[in-house]
Subunit: 441 residues, 2 copies
Amino acid sequence: MAATASSSSLLAASASSSCAAVSTRRARANPAASASLPSPSRAPSPPLRASAARALRSRVVASAAPAMQPPAASRVSTVVEVDLGDRSYPIYIGAGLLNEPDLLQRHVHGKRVLVVTNTTVAPLYLEKVTWALTHNNPNVSVESVILPDGEKYKDMDTLMKVFDKAVESRLDRRCTFVALGGGVIGDMCGFAAAAFLRGVNFIQIPTTLMAQVDSSVGGKTGINHPLGKNLIGAFYQPQCVLIDTETLNTLPDRELASGIAEVVKYGLIRDAPFFEWQEKNMPALLAREPSALAYAIKRSCENKAEVVAQDEKESGVRATLNLGHTFGHAIETGTGYGAWLHGEAVAAGTVMAADMSHRLGWIDESLKKRVIDILEQAKVPITPPETMTVEKFKSIMAVDKKVADGLLRLILLKGPLGSCVFTGDYDRNALDETLRAFCDS
Amino acid sequence: MAATASSSSLLAASASSSCAAVSTRRARANPAASASLPSPSRAPSPPLRASAARALRSRVVASAAPAMQPPAASRVSTVVEVDLGDRSYPIYIGAGLLNEPDLLQRHVHGKRVLVVTNTTVAPLYLEKVTWALTHNNPNVSVESVILPDGEKYKDMDTLMKVFDKAVESRLDRRCTFVALGGGVIGDMCGFAAAAFLRGVNFIQIPTTLMAQVDSSVGGKTGINHPLGKNLIGAFYQPQCVLIDTETLNTLPDRELASGIAEVVKYGLIRDAPFFEWQEKNMPALLAREPSALAYAIKRSCENKAEVVAQDEKESGVRATLNLGHTFGHAIETGTGYGAWLHGEAVAAGTVMAADMSHRLGWIDESLKKRVIDILEQAKVPITPPETMTVEKFKSIMAVDKKVADGLLRLILLKGPLGSCVFTGDYDRNALDETLRAFCDS
């Protein structure tokens, strides 16, 4: 089997080899975990860098000093810092964080807030978030816009509703947008914040596993075009990401499984120990054991933050986060946005990428089998829907953002578990064979 | 008259006091100017900084060295550098620059170009620009999208036509968008380039005086919302701005006069000698004497580049470029986009700002009169249309981007010619009095 490294394989990086860009601290230990957590093997954390993170650190330290603040005051179990110079920001992870007004309020700029959410999430959390924004904070007023729920509404018409609300409410440049919901809400609210008055502050409060482990972190925002996913958007970083893991209690099983597909991705592309942990703990994740979910979210955010800090605008290594996504986006576009959840499409796409990697001789049969096994365990699809034909895949993949001068570049697995490449240098026959193997026509 | 400096008056800066951010060089002398040009009083130019500028400098030097290149080869008379670190870019100014394919081609990235233009400009220059992009350059293919002409089409529906064309043409991240037209085309194409695939390269080829002296420089892009001008957009810098002054030969008189309103602005806010030059040379400008127009464009671009280099994202001094624009935008929005040209609305707005400055006791009666006189000479409106009421002004100005936490900040003249402030610290009565003085109801 040929497995020589191409120049593009330089992009592959193991999680253990570069974590300088991310600092993580656990403010207090989780309750004894029923899931088996590997002992930390990371390099010592460098100091937090952004002023917001510094402020939090003081506070976290304070929570261990009863004279300054009651120990129970903070539920933040982990802070992951996304290190992007003057655009750095913290990701707060913990159970019940929406009960901590101070955490949210420290990142609100100005006196006006627009919460962008949807018809599913609003009845569950809008009141709570509004309370958190305004508790003991009479100067702040909160508006909200409630969008229809679903990927098929991630379009320009729906985005305009956010601008309409912002303009009608006379929000100015000192306002803050808050994204309360899953990936669609985060992407749309973020793009609206990037474009409203040429840019206002925003905060991510992801309420789905998909958004908590992936889409809320890193500043990719945007909407779909009828002909392709996420073709219109901006790189625009939030002020903070606030992950209250208790919001997962209201998440449907199908949505939970969809999020797990992105967790699996981090293991495959750069974090072999995390993948091995997932293989052992998939039942705990599906059973929503809090400590297992918290660990999966933390480790995913760390991986994401490290990659984003290295390559914010996706000129190289960041593209590897799209393992399975080129196939997956084709499924989402080809079946009509929303028929499949994003993670479901990514899961099938990941199996296709592993299949193609194996056909190219870049990974062993056994690794391909492990990919299929873990996704089957997670109860997500491992093949595309029957309506997807070879031609449909090809025509949609031709407008993928990773096409460059007509050449489709793909993220493929190469070498041992935890290694991948982003490359346009592969045998076209392997792609054709994979498409034919997964499509009836 | 009270004319004490407030803290906000620190923003006022005279052109002669800070030109380090801009370098200008004349590649060859203009033909003997019939307009009187002041002798250069600027500090020696620092070296050009961006690599593109370095490449051009070599070329410009070469044009004076027959052994390397024929002297007639370059029509570039001036290069103004916009100094923004790794986003720096040159503004080329000269007669006949569209006849120089090399100038344009050096800034095209990738093999695919999308020219965004309108129904008025396409018949005049689209063929020429396509020729310039492809001459001796068979690897590049050019698509174009021709939008309807006018401010009323600067909206999301029309912007979507650009995205549609880009997606249907399967353009990828290595493509280049070219804005060929006036300010509306430049603003829309720039925002489309900022958002397509989260950002692709773009080039500005402004063909109106308004766009050449103002809107094509500095990276402000965007579209209008039905309730307010330019409320949706991005700060996004081009690869270069190419100003072929010969394109002004096809510009209607009304459009020419509209552009002059922005030229007048630079003199009023920061460049007294330039204003004095305009007072003497307005007849030459209106008669389109090439040397007078070339000087006005060059000096305007230098002023704009200096301000933008100091404050790219308008956190302070850049706002001063909006003298008269808050009143002007209200006129444009209130009368329906396109009824008045942008410069016409700005002209009336500038007189209103001068009137209010005088009511506040911040400028002499004589300066207010000079503002009115020069704009009357330029044959642009000096009062708003009769349909604008005090209430209409107030309700539209309330959504202006310069409102902060509910307070409307304005650019007002203060002190001698060439000085202004950007401030929310003014007597509200003066604003009311100005509105009442200019509106019938």
